[in-house]
């Protein structure tokens, strides 16, 4: 569904990633690790077209990113659920409206999906916080809200950037549980994290592949995990 072929990326001439190839198949579960600043977030941005590669090809659901106009990019993003490292909420809207934002911008009838929204918020354990503004939420609540927003359009792929970045171990496991459930529903999952314990915990439940960015390249990791 998401294919990167020999992709390189540099910011203002500074090479960060080079020769990266990656395929996300339905039902797959990938972890992406690497030291801070290695380019994990950058790689995810290439996967949902926030960035275009400086070299190589990106294919999203069979379409070449290079040939997509702005509207096509917007429509493609609706099929990819993203949990951003910094969550990316609209701080002036209550939680429920932030979570249903993808429905609204896609022109769907938000009122008609109210039941769906309630179930989703219950699934991530936020049914009591629907009217809270994002700045009033705890880190873990924000991460779960971001996950809820990522899945509300029922996407085939979910990209999560440090979804357990600022929460305790118990909450990390809870978020992992939600991701595993989504994977069991057949969704492709890619999680960027540097939490090796989280990866170990996941491997006990799903057949996850672990990729690592090292010296601009993408490597298969795993033996030591």
């Amino acid at each position: 569904m998401i294919e990167l072929e020999d992709v390189s990326h540099s910011y203002c001439g500074a090479q960060l990633l080079s020769g990266i190839s990656l395929r996300l198949q339905p039902g797959s579960f990938h972890f992406l690790t690497g030291p801070s600043g290695a380019g994990k977030t950058t790689l995810l941005k290439l996967c949902y077209a926030e960035l275009r590669p400086t070299r190589g090809r990106v294919r999203l659901f069979g379409a070449e990113l290079a040939g997509m106009d702005r509207d096509a990019v917007a429509r493609t993003r609706r099929r990819i659920g993203v949990v951003h490292q910094d969550c990316q909420f609209l701080d002036h809207l209550p939680l429920a409206e932030n979570v249903s934002l993808p429905l609204l911008v896609a022109g769907r009838d938000v009122a008609a999906e109210a039941e769906n929204l309630r179930e989703l918020l219950a699934w991530v354990g936020l049914q009591a916080q629907t009217d809270a503004l994002p700045p009033q939420l705890s880190g873990g609540e924000r991460q779960r809200a971001a996950l809820a927003r990522a899945v509300i359009m029922d996407p085939d792929v979910i990209l999560a950037d440090e979804p357990t970045g600022n929460v305790d171990w118990e909450m990390s496991l809870r978020i992992l549980q939600l991701l595993v459930e989504l994977n069991r529903m057949g969704k492709a999952i890619l999680v960027a994290t540097h939490d090796l314990n989280l990866i170990r915990a996941a491997k006990a439940q799903v057949a996850a592949r672990v990729l690592r960015i090292k010296e601009q390249q993408l490597q298969q990791a795993g033996a030591e995990l």
Binding site: E50, R70, D71, A74, R78, L90, H92, L101, V105, V110
Partner: protein, 300 residues
């Protein structure tokens, strides 16, 4: 009317979609004020243009088919020459009627300048003969030539000499009025574009989030377009109402005062300013949309 339907739908709006961009507080009032001030000024420019147009038409119609023969002659010659002139005019093609102005009428004409006690009969005043032309009009040059033969003291004034510059002046005034309206419209478009630009810049983060969750540029632009269109409509409606009130309350000078006396609206003229709010809304819509689509292109 059909073209206004999408505008109405846009203004009715979608409360939920509008909320994605946070409310902007006092700058909203500035947009309303600008639109209001512009509409107010436009009402006056309109009044000026319409009055100038009316004046030009009036002069054109009232004076187009009249001429005057002015006769200066010695006391004894006056009556005979007047008769000769009237005879010439009777046989001139294109002259519908000719009539000598009486002493009483002459006194009435001069009264505003010299007072009621003017001894008209003792003054060496020229005799005036009023000529009304037919639809086809007369050949002024030929008539002048004949008059020179029959009555050497007669001068034909077909009014065109002073009528033309007056009509030209009125026409120019009307043109200036429309030009002013055009400039006011353009200035409003520019100001709306500027404030839309500022609003887009202030909401850069909101826009980035909307793009990330899959919003098309058109969706984002609409949220801004709706706001600015509605504000322009409200402001222009208020400005128009105040402008019309001010025109209605203008003191009525009497007819002799020319353009200024005519400044105002007559009859159906009053309907013209009612177009200002929808036109302002349309201008705001276009200005905001063009600005938004342009700015959005620069955001991933």
């Amino acid at each position: 009317m059909r073209r206004l339907a999408p505008l109405a739908a846009l203004l009715a709006g979608d409360a939920r979609a509008d909320r994605v961009v946070p409310p902007s507080g006092f700058t909203a009032q500035l947009t309303r004020f600008t639109a209001g001030a512009m509409a107010f000024l436009t009402v006056f420019a309109l009044a000026l243009s319409l009055a100038a147009g009316r004046l030009a038409d009036h002069w054109d119609e009232a004076l187009a088919r009249t001429a005057t023969v002015r006769l200066s002659a010695a006391e004894g010659q006056m009556a005979a020459q007047t008769e000769a002139i009237l005879e010439v005019l009777r046989t001139t093609p294109g002259v519908a009627a000719a009539r000598a102005i009486t002493d009483e009428e002459q006194r009435a004409l001069l009264e505003p300048w010299f007072g009621p006690d003017l001894p008209v009969d003792t003054l060496p005043l020229p005799r005036l003969i009023e000529v009304t032309e037919t639809e086809a009009g007369m050949d002024a040059e030929a008539l002048r030539f004949r008059l020179a033969g029959e009555a050497p003291g007669a001068v034909l004034d077909d009014h065109s000499r002073w009528r033309r510059p007056l009509i030209e002046a009125a026409g120019r005034l009307r043109l200036l009025g429309w030009l002013a309206i055009g400039l006011i419209g353009a200035a409003m478009a520019a100001m709306i574009a500027l404030s839309a630009h500022a609003a887009l810049a202030a909401n850069a983060r909101v826009i980035a989030v909307l793009r990330l969750v899959g919003a098309r540029d058109a969706f984002i632009a609409r949220a801004f377009v709706r706001r600015f269109t509605r504000r322009a409509l409200e402001g222009a409606a208020a400005g128009m109402a105040l402008g019309m009130l001010a025109v209605a309350l203008l003191p009525r000078a009497d007819a002799a005062a020319g353009v200024l006396a005519g400044l105002g609206f007559r009859g159906t003229d009053w309907l013209v300013p009612l177009l200002l709010p929808p036109i302002s809304a349309a201008v705001a819509l276009a200005a905001t949309r063009i600005t938004a689509m342009r700015v959005l292109k620069g955001i991933t």
